[in-house]
Symmetry: C2
Subunit: 316 residues, 2 copies
Amino acid sequence: MLSSSEYWVLTRQQVMPDILASKKIVIIGLGLIGGSIARGLSVLRKDIEITAVGRNETVLQEAQTEGVITHLSTDIKTACANADLVIIAVPSLTVERILEELKSVVSEHTVITDAASVKSTIVDAVINTFGKVPVNFVPGHPIAGSEHSGYSASSAELYQGKKVILTPLDNTDEQAVNLVTALWQSLGAEVLTMSVKKHDSILAATSHLPHLLAFSLVDTLSQQGESEEIFRYAAGGFRDFTRIASSDPQMWHDIFMANGEAVVEVLDVYMGDLSRLRQAVLDKNSDDLKSTFKRAKKSRDKFLSHFENGADLSDD
Amino acid sequence: MLSSSEYWVLTRQQVMPDILASKKIVIIGLGLIGGSIARGLSVLRKDIEITAVGRNETVLQEAQTEGVITHLSTDIKTACANADLVIIAVPSLTVERILEELKSVVSEHTVITDAASVKSTIVDAVINTFGKVPVNFVPGHPIAGSEHSGYSASSAELYQGKKVILTPLDNTDEQAVNLVTALWQSLGAEVLTMSVKKHDSILAATSHLPHLLAFSLVDTLSQQGESEEIFRYAAGGFRDFTRIASSDPQMWHDIFMANGEAVVEVLDVYMGDLSRLRQAVLDKNSDDLKSTFKRAKKSRDKFLSHFENGADLSDD
């Protein structure tokens, strides 16, 4: 009988291109992101060789038993010595430590990519470690987050219909970009490229800022004297608005440490607009309130129609 | 064959108490809120008499054809002359105009209730109209919003598992409160009572403020130069965070006109906290960021577990 993941592969007519199928792949970090890559690849090709490196041996062994990975290791150097493709899927601020270990063992033919939410700090970390960005390093970011984290939340379908942004540099090797593109496309994602700066500024607006606002609101309300009661009467709108405040604190700490400048830039625009709206509320400025809400609803409904046409919502 | 609504009534073993079953009920405003009341009641009892008053005759006729209401009217005075229970389900700022019309026709035995999101302005409107709050007026608020509005979005199950807050005054008649309680309980809701002031302050924090933040964020981003691109890369987290920004602008205009003071009070606390978090981001204050995110995640996860144990999520 087919598993649901195998059924997914069949119905999507998903195939793994030759460029990828014969490669020796190493995934560093087997959490939500790395685990979902391994699950997706292992469902696509039973014979693919995937090594996972992680600190938690129990999780690695579980993944091996499930057939999600073929090899496991807790040592980066051993695991990556003969790798063709190394995928770094650890929290942003841990990437530099991983690169340090990789430096001495990877050959110039090893393609390296990552999945961190902020690209400028990754590029900085690569330069700190290698002295420059190697031509085979392809910075990448799957826009497929969730408030759930860890291997237990991973899924073969996580990237289906999602966008993955690659931010290659001027000197990045085209073959390396093609290999990383093939990886994400195999998993069902749409791959786009843009500059590092543009990526970090767009993500600051659409992802990092909303997370900051949600974390901050829940924290504010939880510190009100009557917080138990406040939450007691909150309904579905509040649940959805604050869903992202249930996200992994360590991961989001790293993101704000890494992309603070871009986040504060858009936050300041937001706080300016919010102050004006506050004044409109105080002044009972009917026209101002109505036109703002109408504009917002129109933009949001338009976003939604694009989003629902372009993406599979089932897994995010 | 049973309709899904009838099946819902059977599986929930929902019954309508005698106190309600024989009453002549008038619903003013047949949108999401009023339409869902009518649908729920008509499913519970085929023989119940429900008159709906509205401006849109097409909608009223549709509801009558569907068997959701028994009578329709576009004239409040005619419809309410012999009513036992009048439910006002129109946008907040329209309530006073409705009360003016009701004043000359309702007897002292007619129980009147409403469903507006802000209770202080409703009480003020009642006092403006009647000189005092009649003992048979029971202010009420079903916490069962949705970003969808209108009769077409109404559902017999809307109130199932939801909370309804009544804010009776010192002189409010107990029998009147019992009748309104029976109404909402019949529809599957949990009925709670609290003071007007407390209601408006709690709703400002859990509902009105999040809506203001969401409307404001979508509006800010839509006015960025590269807004098309910004929205293009937004993912599921953004969709959920901004869902409430697709809500009815007129309704939310009314709410902020009505509850501005309480909203600005909690907004100011929030903006103070947000400014501190902004500074922590700028300062790369690792401890501060991590502890804030951890606290928020803990509170939100706790809220969620209460919420999911206490409420039916399917319809909100």
